[in-house]
């Protein structure tokens, strides 16, 4: 029996996500009441997205990987771990064994938490379940136990929902988004950490009233927002350091090819994920309608992707300045152990800072200082998880160029929650169980504190009307 199961499992791995997911998604779509044609088209589109991402990752790994190695040998700058960014992370997560079942699992967790009152958020942004799937896949790979992976994914989602609840009042007020919360794996943990930082900044003389205006920054730093220009410039810089004109004609060709390839990769990766997203959309729409129907008339926060907040001027300004800061941090922290070369996720910095900016009430100076502290710490987490991250990428069927370049990402690799579950996974079964208990305690404490706060506010409002 064991032998048969292993044979099936190994055959599924051979097929890879580009074949398995179309089948799974079609079945899931049918279960949600979609017509066969629509469900099958959605599934096939997702398969195509996977193949597209794999092609671009091959380009990134094949071109940038060796150049980063050469740069390390030439200058002793040990930044050889390639940041493949959130587009690849999402694909790796959905392509993992946990990713295959994350949508029904996530819906189930959310519904249970809503029914028990442990969350106030109905997360209709099913796409971002991938953050939880990635955590599950990481823990699964570290412990070799699929069920511990499932447990971790479910617990991660519960914590993120709680974080969405905590930051919701700030998000709603600052971004003027009534009834919205951001249970978003990227931005929510950073938003939570911004509260103690804000408390600290209030107590540092000189910093208290320091701010900057977003308009000037947008004009001056606008170029850092354009992925293709950023890719080209970074490619040229890495190229010059990797191929320092020992053989001018040959090296110039190598530098230029690298620069255009990196521009291409940074431009194409999000497009490829767009295809994945397009395929997932009919499914997530059907699931949203299905769940919203189950809770008629109940009032809760609608959980969205923090993408809807990214256009806020202070978020844009902070992110633009964070691009050069992140690159400098990576180089400066290299002697201390950072090995991650920030690339694709430089375009995703807005998501790291989105909720933080709201907590800092749009103060750009605070957002930049807070963002820099957390990104600096995050680079070490991203370095730490790189081997495990690379393993789940390869297990999910991705080709990372010759010699399999070691990869990581800023958005999820550097995330404090990823660090927590990495530590848990390294602790084996006991580690995962301890982490899960701590996380669930956090969820329960959050509920109690939020309920208490609401009661106080109601009481205060009542006294106000009586007076």
């Amino acid at each position: 029996m064991q032998g048969i199961l292993e044979a099936i499992s190994s055959y599924i791995t051979t097929l890879g996500p580009s074949v398995v997911l179309p089948i799974l998604i079609t079945l899931f779509g049918l279960a949600l009441g979609l017509k066969f044609g629509k469900a099958f088209r959605a599934g096939l589109t997702i398969g195509i997205g996977f193949i597209g991402i794999n092609l671009v990752l091959g380009l990134l790994g094949g071109q940038v990987g060796p150049a980063a190695q050469a740069m390390a040998t030439n200058f002793g700058v040990q930044l050889s771990i390639v940041d493949v960014g959130w587009p690849s992370s999402a694909a790796i997560a959905f392509g993992s064994t946990i990713g295959a079942i994350i949508i029904p699992l996530g819906l189930l967790v959310n519904v249970i938490l809503l029914l028990t009152g442990l969350t106030r958020t109905l997360d209709i942004d099913l796409w971002n379940y991938w953050h939880s799937a990635l955590i599950g896949a990481l823990v699964g790979a570290l412990t070799g136990n699929f069920w511990l992976g499932i447990l971790s994914a479910a617990v991660h989602l519960a914590v993120i929902l709680s974080m969405g609840d905590i930051t919701a009042p700030v998000v709603q007020k600052y971004f003027k988004l009534p009834d919205i919360s951001f249970p978003h794996g990227t931005s929510a943990p950073y938003g939570l950490l911004a509260f103690p930082l804000n408390w600290l900044f209030d107590r540092i003389p000189g910093l208290k009233n320091w701010d900057a205006t977003p308009e000037g920054i947008q004009k001056r730093f606008g170029i850092f927002g354009e992925s293709l220009m950023m890719g080209l410039i970074l490619g040229l810089v890495i190229g010059v350091m990797a191929f320092p004109f020992q053989n001018p004609a040959e090296d110039i060709a190598k530098i230029l090819i690298l620069a255009v390839s990196l521009a291409a990769a940074m431009f194409l990766l999000p497009r490829m994920v767009g295809i994945l997203m397009e395929g997932l959309m009919p499914i997530s729409e059907a699931a949203r309608v299905f769940v919203q129907k189950k809770f008629p008339g109940r009032k809760f926060y609608i959980g969205l992707d923090s993408a809807v907040a990214v256009g806020q001027p202070s978020v844009i300004a902070t992110s633009l300045i964070m691009v050069p800061i992140t690159l400098v941090l990576a180089i400066v922290l290299a002697p201390l152990g950072n090995q991650v070369l920030p690339l694709v996720d430089l375009a995703t910095l807005p998501f790291i800072v989105a909720v933080m900016v709201a907590v800092f009430r749009g103060n750009i100076v605070r957002s930049i200082i807070g963002g820099s502290i957390l990104v600096a710490l995050g680079l070490f987490i991203a370095t730490w998880i790189a081997p495990a991250f690379t393993k789940i990428a390869v297990d999910s069927g991705f080709q990372l160029g010759e010699g399999q370049t070691v990869i990581s990402s800023l958005v999820d690799g550097a995330n404090p929650m990823t660090g927590l579950f990495m530590a848990a996974g390294n602790g084996g079964t006991i580690g995962v169980i301890v982490a899960s208990v701590v996380c669930l305690a956090f969820v329960v404490t959050t509920k109690i504190m939020l309920d208490r706060r609401d009661k106080k506010q109601e009481a205060a409002a009542e006294t106000a009307t009586q007076a």
Binding site: I180, G274, V310, G311, L320
Partner: protein, 91 residues
């Protein structure tokens, strides 16, 4: 043919949901238009080739063409009024 640019934080996540709904809607009411997606960072430098922007997030003040806010197309509450606003700009 009018060009409609759908804008969100990534040019992928929420804008794909909105883009598909806008495309389906325009096809249903018979308004010919090109629907494209983009990220808000691309607008910062102010070069926009479109007749209408439909956005799920804030767009920079430097943008001079009409903007329709389309958060309702993601949450599913109040979709009709967003479609009406889009139609009125494209008519």
């Amino acid at each position: 043919m009018k060009r409609v640019l759908i804008i969100c934080g990534t040019g992928i996540a929420t804008s794909t949901v909105v883009a598909i709904k806008v495309k389906d809607h325009l096809a249903a009411v018979g308004i010919p238009a090109v629907v494209e997606q983009g990220k808000v960072m691309d607008l910062v430098r102010g070069e926009v080739n479109a007749d209408l922007i439909v956005a799920t997030t804030d767009v920079p003040e430097s943008v001079t063409i009409p903007v329709v806010r389309a958060l309702a197309l993601i949450t599913g509450f109040g979709e009709e009024s967003v479609f009406e606003e889009i139609d009125s700009h494209l008519a």
